[in-house]
Symmetry: C2
DNA sequence: CGTTTGTTCTGAACGCGTTCAAAATAGTCC
DNA sequence: GGACTATTTTGAACGCGTTCAGAACAAACG
C-alpha cells in the first residue's frame, strides 16, 4: 500500500500511481516501463511517485503484499475441497499461480532478486518475513489435519521446507515459457505427489537414518 | 577474454581493463565500482571499456570463463586422490569454491541473474552452454568409475542433476555470510554424503517406482 | 482575514550504464 | 616521405532510477 498519508486525496494519488505502474508493467514489462512513464500516466510529476514509494521495486513489493492479502480467502476456499496432503499441497500452490497469472511478469521482477537475502525484495529478506510467516502457517495447517502422520522430529521443520518447495514451483512458473505454462502444471502434479509420498515414507522406521540426515541438512541451511 | 583485437597493444589494453575491473570489484563490490572508475584505473576513457566489453556484465562473464579454464587442471588433480562418489563429488565442488574464493563477490554479481534463463549471465543461458557442458562432463566422469552402479535409466540424466546440485551449493556459498563460509563447508559434507547414498539406494529394486517418479520430474524440468 | 505549520507535489539535477560520431593512431601501399 | 584504410580511443550525450530544495496547497489558530 502507499504508506498511510494524511489526506484522502493523497491516498487516491498513491493508488493512482500503483495502478498506473501495474498497468504499465503488465503491458510493456517491468524494465521498459519507466518511473517517468508511470508518473505521467498517473498525472503527477516524476518526483511524486517517490513521495509514495521509495523505489521502483517498492511498487512491486506493495503489489505482492496486496496480492497475498487478497489470496487468503481463496486459499481457505480451495482447501475446503481438498483432504489429502497431496491435493492440499497442489491446490494451495495452484491458487497462488492462478491469482498471480495476470501479473506473471511483475512477479518475475520480484523474484529476479530472490538470490540475495539482503535485497529487500527477496522472498528470504527480513522485509518479507511477515508475508512468509503467513504463508508458512498455511503449510503447517495442511499438515495438521491431512491424515498423514508426521514424524515428531520432522514436524517443526516441515512447513518451512514445504514453503521452500512452493517457492521453487513459483520460480519455475515465472520463467516457464511453455504455452499456458503447461510445464508448470505437470511439474506441480508430479511434485505434489512425490512430496506427499516422501512425507509418508519418511515416517517408516526403516527411514529413520535418512530422515536424520535430511534434518541435519535442513538445520545447516536454515541456521543463521 | 577481451574479444580478439588486431594489435598487441590492444590486447594489452583489454587485459588492463579486465584487471582493473576485477580489482575494483573485489575491493569495493560490483555495484560500487563504476565503469568510469574502471576506465580511469585502466588509464583509458570511459568509452574504451565498451570497445572491449559490450557491457559491465560481460566483464564478469569473461572472468567466469577464464576461471573455468584455469580450474580444469585443478579439478583433474583433486579427483586423483578421490575414489568414492561421495569424495569425488565433494572434492570437485570444493575445488571450485576454493578457486572462486578470492572473487566471491564477483560471482555473486553473476549469480544474481541466475533467475532468468534469458539473461546472458544466467548459468542456464545459451551463452553459458559451452561452460556448462564442460562442467557436466566432469560429473559424467566421476560417475563413470566411482564403484557405484548407476541404474541404466538414471545414467543419462544424473550428470545434469549433479551439476544442478553443484549450482545449488555454489549459490548457497555465494550468499553464505558465516565466518569463512563454514556453513557451506558443513552443507557440502552432508549433502555430498546424502547424494551419494541416494544414488546408491536408487539402484535397489524396491526403489524402482521412486526412481521412475524422480525421472518423470527431471524430464518435465529439463524438457524444452 | 493573515500567519503558521504540516502535507503534498514539482522539476531540475545527480550518478549510473551505455552509445556514438568523430578524433587519434597504426598499418599499408605507392 | 604522403595518401588511404582500418583499428583504437575519446568524451560528450542519452535514458534510466533516484534525490532534493523548494513551490503549492491545505488545515489550524489568532
Amino acid at each position: 500500500m502507499p504508506p498511510t498519508k494524511a489526506t484522502a486525496k493523497a491516498e487516491e494519488t498513491g493508488l493512482k500511481i500503483l495502478d498506473s505502474a501495474l498497468t504499465l508493467f503488465r503491458e510493456e514489462g517491468f524494465d521498459t516501463a519507466t518511473m517517468r512513464d508511470i508518473a505521467v500516466k498517473a498525472g503527477v510529476a516524476t518526483g511524486a511517485a517517490y513521495y509514495y514509494y521509495p523505489s521502483k521495486d517498492a511498487i512491486v513489493m506493495d503489489f505482492y503484499q496486496r496480492a497475498c492479502a487478497e489470496m487468503q480467502p481463496k486459499i481457505e476456499a480451495a482447501l475446503e475441497h481438498a483432504n489429502t496432503l497431496e491435493t492440499r499441497l497442489r491446490e494451495l500452490i495452484r491458487v497462488k499461480l492462478v491469482h498471480f497469472a495476470p501479473n506473471r511478469s511483475v512477479l518475475r521482477a520480484l523474484l529476479r532478486n530472490g538470490a540475495d537475502p539482503k535485497h529487500p525484495l527477496s522472498p528470504f529478506s527480513p522485509e518479507t518475513k511477515a508475508i512468509r510467516d503467513v504463508d508458512i502457517a498455511w503449510f503447517r495447517k495442511i499438515l495438521d489435519d491431512c491424515g498423514t502422520r508426521i514424524p515428531r522430529d520432522l514436524e517443526p521443520r516441515l512447513p518451512g521446507v514445504l514453503w521452500f518447495f512452493q517457492m521453487g514451483v513459483i520460480f519455475f512458473w515465472v520463467i516457464d515459457e511453455s504455452p499456458n505454462q503447461s510445464r508448470t502444471a505437470k511439474l506441480l502434479d508430479l511434485a505434489s505427489k512425490s512430496v506427499a509420498t516422501l512425507v509418508k515414507v519418511s515416517a517408516l522406521p526403516l527411514m529413520r537414518p535418512v530422515r536424520k540426515s535430511a534434518l541435519q541438512l535442513i538445520e545447516v541451511v536454515k541456521g543463521d
